[in-house]
């Protein structure tokens, strides 16, 4: 904890869990999509489903999907901006069994045909817990800088990624691999200490068997 955890963050109101956390969830989905989203189908569960309009959670999620940060003053106009920029969106209330009360399931389609489904929750204080990416179970909170490496389950892929990280002096604090089936799509969730250089992400992206690499920065 430091003094800016108390005097801060600078954020768009009204509450860190309904705006800051929701913006971050939307942003994670957008980053994983890797291109401009043209369609967003969002399912909300628990208290998100009941209260999203009054809290502005819908505006916050769409703002994140459009790539905004949680202190962006355009958040309150994001639904209008989405219309102007050709992002079609829909919100439906749906109970997701066992999910955290503030859970959103975001299905995005991009301008060049990319598609992704991200499920996560806003767990308070602007913190998030992402639990599912493209049908794969993950678990990260965004409290640390986190690299999500979507890849094909082929020998040597993990070694190649972690070697590159070692060369760049990036220390791994936590590593998790999710592989729904042998040889298919898989995801590495890598929490790191300190900052991550953009050049590292670029060099990881061009490794064999890598589908996409995204960095989710800590708050």
């Amino acid at each position: 904890m430091n003094v800016f955890d108390i005097i801060g963050p600078v954020m768009i109101g009204p509450s860190s869990s309904h705006t800051a956390g929701a913006v971050r969830l939307g942003r994670v989905a957008w980053k994983i999509l890797g291109e401009r989203a043209v369609k967003a189908e969002i399912r909300l569960s628990g208290s998100f489903a009941q209260t999203y309009r009054g809290h502005g959670t819908d505006k916050a999620l769409i703002a994140g999907i459009m790539g905004m940060h949680s202190d962006d003053e355009r958040i309150r106009r994001s639904l209008v901006l989405a219309g102007e920029e050709g992002l079609a969106y829909s919100f439906t209330a749906e109970d997701i069994p066992g999910a955290h009360p503030n859970t959103a399931r975001i299905h995005l389609k991009g301008e060049n045909g990319a598609e992704c489904v991200v499920q996560g929750a806003s767990i308070g204080g602007g913190n998030i817990l992402v639990t599912e990416i493209n049908g794969m179970e993950v678990s990260f909170t965004g409290q640390y800088n986190t690299l999500m490496v979507l890849h094909y389950d082929k020998p040597g892929t993990i070694a190649a990624v972690t070697n590159f990280m070692a060369y760049s002096g990036t220390n791994i604090g936590n590593f998790r691999l999710t592989r729904p089936r042998k040889g298919g799509e898989a995801v590495m969730t890598i929490e790191v200490d300190g900052d991550v250089e953009e050049s590292l992400i670029q060099s990881l992206r061009i490794l064999p068997n890598i589908i996409n690499v995204v960095l989710i920065r800590a708050i």
Partner: protein, 292 residues
């Protein structure tokens, strides 16, 4: 390095080094965060500027929250302040600032959570008031936010700053205690007096529940930011006059924690009791969210 587990220890260290709490904390944070003093100062200066902008924007008479339940009250107080009211223009302007920032928060404006979004009007209502009413310069106001931050860190560590954990005493109560210490420093008081002000502010908000109507950070949060600044100002005035808290500040923080633990969940941000479940509170909830 400071441990931030005792307000008294921080104040004693400042007294011993014959410095202010803010100067002590700034140099400590430079060490702990491994960044330059200039960078940290600039970052805090930016927070102060965000607060000032929120004060200006929040005074717009046409401002309304996303739910439509609140907005426009800061403008009313601002107009009334010109008359001097009962407590004078300074206090009324300070009240207008606290409401402005809280209403701006509810209208999805940009604010500084200090320590939370629900209590974001209290430091602007106090520290920004000292600056904009000509009682201190900008440098002192920026530094006072470090003092406030240090108090908040100890409370977060030994009690809580989350309404869901400790009730409103943890949010507006903490902000008020932080502001009281900052005000003492801005008025030229000693670190020991700041600790007393802090203790008095905490004592006056012990047990305050978090019972927001419809779960929104609006009713009664916005007006509790005003009582938060009133308590901060009166606590600071008492301490500056030489009044001491009979209960030491760190024991007040522990009492806050104990009371927070004993509060039922229904009164900790769940909107299951208190003002949230009054007939009017429930009617407003229906108005915003429908039958569910």
């Amino acid at each position: 390095m400071l441990e931030y587990d005792s307000i008294a220890a921080i104040c004693e260290a400042a007294e011993q080094q014959q410095t202010t709490i803010s100067a002590l904390v700034l140099s400590d944070q430079v060490e702990q965060m491994e960044v330059s003093e200039e960078t940290l100062y600039k970052r805090m200066e930016n927070s102060l500027h965000v607060m000032q902008e929120a004060v200006r924007e929040g005074k717009n008479p046409d401002l309304r929250s996303t739910s439509g339940l609140t907005g426009g009250d800061a403008a009313k107080i601002e107009t009334y302040a010109a008359s001097g009211g009962i407590t004078g223009t300074f206090m009324n302007h300070a009240m207008a600032r606290a409401v402005a920032v809280s209403e701006y928060n509810a209208a999805m404006g940009r604010i500084v959570a200090s320590p939370t979004a629900g209590s974001c009007g209290i430091l602007p209502g106090t520290v920004v008031s000292m600056l904009e009413e000509g009682r201190c310069d900008e440098h002192a106001a920026v530094m006072a936010l470090f003092t406030a931050g240090a108090i908040g860190m100890v409370i977060a560590k030994n009690a809580s700053i989350a309404g869901a954990q400790g009730g409103c005493q943890a949010e507006c109560g903490s902000a008020s205690a932080m502001a009281a210490a900052a005000l003492v420093e801005l008025a030229g008081g000693t670190p020991t007096q700041a600790a007393h002000a802090c203790a008095i502010a905490i004592k006056n908000q012990l047990g305050l529940v978090c019972d927001p109507v419809a779960g929104l950070v609006e009713i009664p949060c916005i007006k509790r930011n005003v009582s938060g600044i009133a308590i901060a100002f009166t606590s600071a005035e008492m301490a500056l006059a030489g009044v001491e808290s009979k209960i030491p500040v760190d024991e007040c923080v522990l009492a806050m924690r104990q009371v927070g633990d004993m509060l039922p969940c229904s009164l900790k941000e769940t909107s299951q009791a208190g003002l949230a479940t009054t007939p009017t509170g429930l009617r407003m909830k229906k108005q915003v969210f429908g039958e569910n």
